[in-house]
Every structure is written in structure tokens, then in C-alpha cells.
Symmetry: C2
Subunit: 234 residues, 2 copies
């Protein structure tokens, strides 16, 4: 079988692996000795908890983050030409979704390399499943603008897509800004637009709640520094 | 622990369960005796392969499809008030994504019922992971218009979002129309817009390929009646 690029999801929380990953992922993990990762230290820890059996000293890590020079990245898939699988791991969740991993998959397509994406958790899709919102038409928009005026303009345009196209709008925020964002959403959106807040997904403290924008103004949850997904729909 | 609504993903293909689902899902499956399903016959088969141990005769099925009267649906979550978990299963992939399950999750939110979404496969997200396209901003648009003129107009508007907002555009098609759709995409999109075709995901015949629109005009793959996802990006 030709060597390939394998995309490894990583559990979102610290819970047991068997809530997050199919057993097959562990089997595939142990076919790789080369991994492209965002941070080597957390990658080592994740490999261990995901059942990687080889010695870490026999493992090659390629770092992919904002400090990586493009000239380095160009060589990250070289082991595949020599017959060895390469694994691409996220820090948490699905690789290449809400992270810069597509630099690597895009390069793999240009080089005609086979890509094997594996099943795993994604807070975006778990939140969408549980939101009660339209799952037949939805958009993930990444981070909202920080500037309040720009955010207000952006919300106006997202509400157009919600009401005109029946498209659920999803975004994330830096966890220390969650409470501020929710307060802004609750006050700036049309009163009947619904907000779903999904927080600490897959953790024992998981919180998923959907209600109309104006109802979030009273007794809002404490989201400070907790990973959260925000979804909007009519 | 209070009874809840549990969202059960179903494997996409006929492959072994341990490539598709975390072991925890089986454990949760066996806490349910009530299931909301699209089709009872396929649901029975899926329950069996997913490791459901109770007798099917002791199991209650609530059907949710285009023939279900709304007055019936209103009672589907009643077992939860009586202390029993209710499971919501898709036909394949993640419930409430690209299916009408959000009718049920939306009702659960109105009734203050806790929702537990479980991890599983989704051809949409596996395709996005492997596409090489932007996973930090993307939209799933469901089915494209069948009428060729409407499709052309719709592609124009999707290309605007690709080039202006850097947003990956994703859609699906009825499998018997795949070949026709790909030919239309290849001829109607701007020549440098890239198309990713992801077909038979999680199956041994899996096919994932990304190239520029005009290159799909020569030697296109045979997609007839194979489940496929189409993704577009610059």
C-alpha cells in the first residue's frame, strides 16, 4: 500500500480516549513515525494518551505554526515519497478545521499524495448537532471582529444570511473574551434571533443552551476562559 | 442523573464499526430503549451493528420523516420526563447535520431537556479536512439548484464568497446527478477556482482529489450513484 498523509483528530478535553476516538485511529497512529504538529510538547502528550507505542526518540516531529518558514514546510511530506506515512495532528479537535493544517493537505494534493482523514471530535459540529439550528445550511466564520463597530456591522451581515438564506452562523472567540461577546450578541442582535452557547463540549461541565437573544441579558452563564462555540439562527 | 436526549452518529459505509465510532457510543446506546429514527428498518439494522444489546421487541421507535404529522412529533420526548433517555439516530453520519433532526433538538431546548451529542463520522467534515481548502471559514449549502440557469447564478454568488470572504463552499448532490453536476461545475466556474471531489468516504474505494475547475473537464472520475461531497475554493 502506498504511503499516505493521515489526518489525526485529537480529543477536545481531558476525558477518556474511548469517548472521543474510534479504536482504528490508534492502529493507524502506530503506522506513523513522522508527525506534523503545532506544538511538539503537547503533541508528545497527546500521542501518549492516544496509544502511540513507539519510542518518542524514534519519532520525527515537524512543527507547523506561525514561526515556521515556508521553505521548511516544503519538505514535510518527503517521508511519503520514501514509503513512510506522515501524520498530521491538531492541538485539539479535527485537523485542518479551524487550524492552519490545510497548508499541508493542499500541498499533498499538488504532489498527488493520498490523504486519509480519520473520525474524531469537533466542538463546532458537536455544537451544531445539539443547537437545534439548521444543519442543512450553515457557515463557520472563525473569530468575530474585536472592534465593537466592526462586530456590529458583521452581525448585521450574518443576520441577513440567517433570515434570507436560512443559514446557521457559527463562530468562536478567544475564551477570555467570551462573556463580553455574549453580552454584545444579546444586546446587538434582533430580539428574536436565537443564540446557542455550547461550552466545555465533551467535558463533565458541558453546557449547551439555546434561547432568544434578549433572554441572554438576564443571568448569563459564566463563560470566562471556558472553550465555547456561539451559534446564531432565526 | 437526569434523562437526556442523546445524539447518535451512524457509520457512513458498511465498514467495521471500530473505524467509525468511539467505544463510548455503544455504552450510551445501551442506556436507551426509545429511538427517534428516519426509517425503522434501517435503524434496526444500524442498532444491531452498533452493538445494541436489548431485544428489538422491547424497543420503541418514533419515526421522523416527511410523512410524520407534527402532532406526533410533539410527544417524541415524553419518555425523558418519565426518566428514560431518548436516542436520535441519523440514517448515516451525524444526526441534525444535513438531515431534519433539528426539529427534535429545537424542541428539546424549548422543554429544557439536556442534549448529549456523541462523536462520529460526517462525510462533510472528512471531506473538508482532506480538501486542502480553508477550514477556518466555510459554508455548507446543502443541495445545489437543479435548474441549470439557477445553478449558474448560484455558483456566481458562491464564487463571490470564495474570493471576497475566503470562504470554502461545500455542497452535496443526489448521487445519480453527480457526473452532470461535476461537468457543469468544471465548465461554469472560473478556470482557476479549485474543485475538490470527495467520494465513498470511509470506504475502501475512497476518492479525494482537488484540482482546478478546467482540469476536471478531461478524464473526469465516474461518480454515478456514489455518495460524493463537492467543495469549492480559490
Amino acid at each position: 500500500m502506498a504511503a499516505k498523509l493521515i489526518l489525526f483528530p485529537v480529543p477536545i478535553g481531558d476525558g477518556p480516549i474511548d469517548t472521543a476516538l474510534p479504536p482504528y485511529n490508534r492502529e493507524m497512529l502506530n503506522t506513523c513515525r513522522h508527525f506534523i504538529v503545532e506544538d511538539i510538547r503537547t503533541a508528545r502528550r497527546n500521542l501518549k494518551r492516544m496509544g502511540y507505542e513507539a519510542e518518542i526518540d524514534d519519532t520525527t516531529f515537524f512543527e507547523l505554526n506561525e514561526h515556521t518558514p515556508e521553505t521548511d514546510i516544503a519538505h514535510y511530506l518527503d517521508p511519503i515519497a520514501q514509503g513512510s506515512n506522515v501524520g498530521l495532528m491538531s492541538e485539539a479537535g479535527l485537523p485542518c478545521i479551524a487550524d492552519p493544517g490545510s497548508l499541508i493537505t493542499s500541498m499533498a494534493h499538488r504532489q498527488g499524495i493520498e490523504i486519509l482523514p480519520l473520525v474524531g471530535p469537533s466542538s463546532i459540529f458537536l455544537a451544531l448537532m445539539a443547537s437545534g439550528f439548521n444543519g442543512q445550511n450553515f457557515a463557520f466564520n472563525g473569530y468575530p471582529p474585536i472592534d465593537t463597530n466592526k462586530l456590529t456591522a458583521s452581525l448585521k451581515s450574518l443576520e441577513t444570511r440567517i433570515y434570507r438564506d436560512s443559514q446557521t452562523q457559527i463562530f468562536i472567540e478567544a475564551p477570555y473574551r467570551n462573556d463580553k461577546l455574549l453580552a454584545l450578541l444579546a444586546s446587538r442582535l434582533m430580539p428574536t434571533t436565537r443564540i446557542c452557547v455550547a461550552c466545555d463540549l465533551t467535558l463533565p461541565t458541558q453546557y449547551i443552551r439555546t434561547r432568544m437573544a434578549r433572554l441572554w441579558l438576564t443571568e448569563p452563564p459564566q463563560l470566562h476562559k471556558r472553550p465555547a462555540i456561539f451559534l446564531l439562527y432565526k
